[in-house]
């Protein structure tokens, strides 16, 4: 009897070792290029989540395959293609910028590979797609939050500054304008910039002439910092309001004192972390990196958690952990996932319905102001 049981035990162990396999998640991030800061912080959050949780319930190991798309949408598309064809990943995680995610989405859709973006907020990323999900809110909501916050603070005249090169900015500006004018605000001027530009003196002159109560800026941190600096240099004292593209230490490093009072909407602020998941994440992040836990990293960690959630659900159903259809179904049907950035539920369009926070730059730090629920 003993012999049989020991052989049986050995066989079971062997089969366990043989069956446990490696499941790959392809990660496309801007690790270099104009928005490298987003990519770097996303990777930090993702690595932390992966470190804490790299195995599925059936013993399979999860592997992250990183590809740097250099902040370029053409590279993002080819990165997605490579991950699907060559690395045979089960899921794609990425990207940050909506322009880049939109380049990847059709490729994932065609290959029936589930894709989840942790931070792209332009609604067109998931529109009409069955295989693309996102872990964050979308810009119609974010624009409305920006508009409401401005109006609630008595700012009735706005100049909108849009980054013409970024789909994120164009979409968000549209959303802001719609909500702002619906709420009784008046858009006195619309100004365009390009990401990569450094000189905004002409735009600042236009803003100065329009004399608004608030300047709504929907682009990224680098341009925000330079714009704020040049505006203050030219004697424009109007406050700025931005969105999740500006909430980075570089905003203050480059913009200096000119960014004091810069308000912006975001997905997460570690100071407002109240749930046990959020607190644990912030603590682990501080311990590992000794830096402030920002929204991109938290969102990436949440996207990772959602993927593992889906994979484990598939395993429970008796399916393979890299069954793309099954993973996609579970991702799209995520309900009440207790994430770091909030409780995440995905609606029929593949978007998350979540709260936004509003922060403000004070003494060079990002101070939490309030949370706005959908």
């Amino acid at each position: 009897m003993k012999k049989v049981t020991s052989i049986a035990a050995a066989l079971a162990l062997l089969s366990g070792i043989v069956i446990a396999k490696e499941v790959k998640i392809g990660v496309v991030l801007p690790l270099t290029g104009g928005i490298a800061a987003f990519g770097e912080t996303s990777k930090r959050g993702l690595d932390l989540a992966h470190e804490q949780n790299a195995k599925l319930s059936n013993g399979d190991t999860v592997k992250l395959v990183y590809v740097d798309d250099r902040s370029d949408k053409v590279e993002a598309a080819s990165a997605a293609q490579k991950l699907i064809d060559k690395d045979k990943v089960a899921v794609i995680l990425g990207e940050v910028a909506s322009s880049n995610s939109m380049a990847m989405a059709p490729i994932a859709e065609k290959a029936k590979t589930p894709m989840i973006t942790h931070a792209s907020t332009n609604p067109r990323v998931t529109k009409g797609k069955k295989y693309v999900t996102r872990a964050c809110f979308i810009d119609p909501f974010q624009g409305a939050v920006m508009a409401k916050y401005a109006l609630d603070n008595g700012m009735k005249k706005a100049v909108v500054v849009t980054d013409a090169k970024q789909d994120y900015s164009v979409g968000l500006s549209k959303a802001f304008k719609k909500a702002y004018t619906a709420g009784g605000g008046k858009i006195v001027k619309q100004v365009l910039i390009n990401s990569g530009d450094k000189d905004f003196n002409a735009q600042v002159a236009t803003i100065k002439a329009a004399n608004p109560d608030i300047i709504a800026f929907t682009g990224y941190y680098n341009e925000a910092a330079l714009l704020a600096k040049q505006a203050r240099n030219m004697g424009v004292k109007t406050p700025f309001i931005g969105a999740d593209g500006v909430g980075f230490p570089e905003l203050v490093k480059i913009g200096g004192k000119a960014t004091e009072g810069f308000m912006y909407t975001d997905h997460f602020n570690e100071a407002a972390a109240s749930s046990p998941e959020a607190k644990a994440y912030v603590e682990a992040y501080h311990k590992k990196y000794n830096k402030t836990a920002d929204s991109m990293g938290a969102l990436a960690a949440d996207a990772y958690g959602m993927i593992l959630n889906a994979m484990n659900a598939c395993v429970k159903e008796g399916k393979a952990s890299d069954d793309k259809e099954c993973i996609n179904a579970h991702l799209r049907n995520t309900k009440d996932y207790k994430g770091i950035t909030g409780v995440i539920s995905i609606n029929e369009e593949g978007n998350a319905v979540k709260s936004a926070v509003v922060n403000e730059v004070k003494d060079g730090k990002f101070e939490y102001k309030t949370t706005v629920n959908p």
């Binding site: 490298a36 450094k198 002409a202 002439a209 490093k253 480059i254």
Partner: protein, 298 residues
């Protein structure tokens, strides 16, 4: 548009134009002696800015010394580029030189990406360069006055070198006919090295000015500025130093004024610079100053 604001934009345009002018001079001088468009030149500007940043903010040296280090470093990079990449190809077809220049450009960009990371860095300039002063309703950072003034002084210095010194005669002779010059026993390689040194030093100064005006530096900052400076050099007449400066100022003014007068077109301001270039190439390829290289005028 308000007169005050118009004047302010003119001054901004002059400042931006000066930076283009400084870099354009380097393009035009190298073209003059080698008939090579040195596409790596914009990246020399980046090298100058980064070395200054490195010396001042990471090594803690005083700003002035850091600028000198930046200039010397850029000169070194320029001279080395010539020695390693362009000299072996002196007798090769021009296309090989062009490809090599582009290769050096990629190399410098990626080297600095590896060394410094690609997140933009905050460039800290001393108070006396960034102070804002106010006349009526016009606010001007003091740099916007300093930059054009220094540029004109540098232009005068370069022209003096070209027309009043022996090396200057040699440079102009090289631009005129390189083979005869060699037959005359002049060390052409040494003269070419001087040209690269001057051009790179100017680009580094332009880079520092650019970093002072727009204090966010990244390894790819030289690309678009370099392309525009090249457009400026062609606009002014490639091969002519005065032309490069004129072209630089024209480009700087147009860029600022287009956005000031038509803010809805702000997204297309780069298009205007290159549109100019296309017009010039179509109708007067020799540029504003005309190609006086054949007559030995610089």
């Amino acid at each position: 548009m308000d007169l005050q604001i118009f004047i302010q934009q003119l001054i901004n345009g002059a400042s931006l134009g000066s930076m283009y002018a400084l870099i354009a001079i380097g393009y035009t001088m190298v073209y003059g002696v080698l008939r090579l468009i040195n596409f790596a030149h914009g990246d020399i500007m980046m090298v100058g800015a980064f070395l200054t940043y490195f010396a001042h903010q990471l090594w803690g040296m005083p700003f002035e010394l850091a600028v000198v280090i930046g200039i010397l470093g850029a000169m070194l990079v320029g001279i080395l580029t010539d020695k390693i990449a362009y000299k072996p190809l002196r007798d090769a077809p021009k296309i090989s030189l062009l490809i090599t220049a582009i290769g050096i450009s990629f190399f410098l960009e990626n080297l600095f990406t590896v060394l410094f990371g690609s997140t933009p860095k905050a460039f800290k300039a001393p108070e006396y360069l960034t102070k804002i002063f106010q006349i009526n309703d016009i606010y001007l950072p003091i740099s916007v006055i300093i930059i054009p003034v220094v540029t004109v002084l540098i232009l005068v210095a370069v022209l003096w070198i070209l027309f009043k010194t022996k090396q200057g005669i040699a440079i102009r002779a090289l631009a005129f006919d390189i083979n005869t010059v060699k037959l005359m026993g002049i060390n052409a390689d040494k003269i070419i090295m001087i040209v690269f040194a001057i051009g790179s030093a100017l680009a580094a100064i332009g880079g520092v000015f650019y970093a002072v005006s727009y204090p966010s530096i990244d390894p790819l900052m030289g690309i678009i500025v370099g392309l525009k400076a090249f457009a400026a050099a062609v606009l002014g007449g490639i091969g002519s130093v005065t032309g490069a400066v004129i072209g630089g100022f024209i480009l700087g003014f147009t860029e600022i004024l287009v956005v000031a007068l038509f803010p809805e077109l702000g997204g297309y301001k780069d298009a205007f610079a290159f549109f100019f270039l296309i017009l010039v190439l179509l109708f007067k390829p020799t540029g504003i100053m005309g190609q006086d290289l054949e007559r030995g005028r610089f």
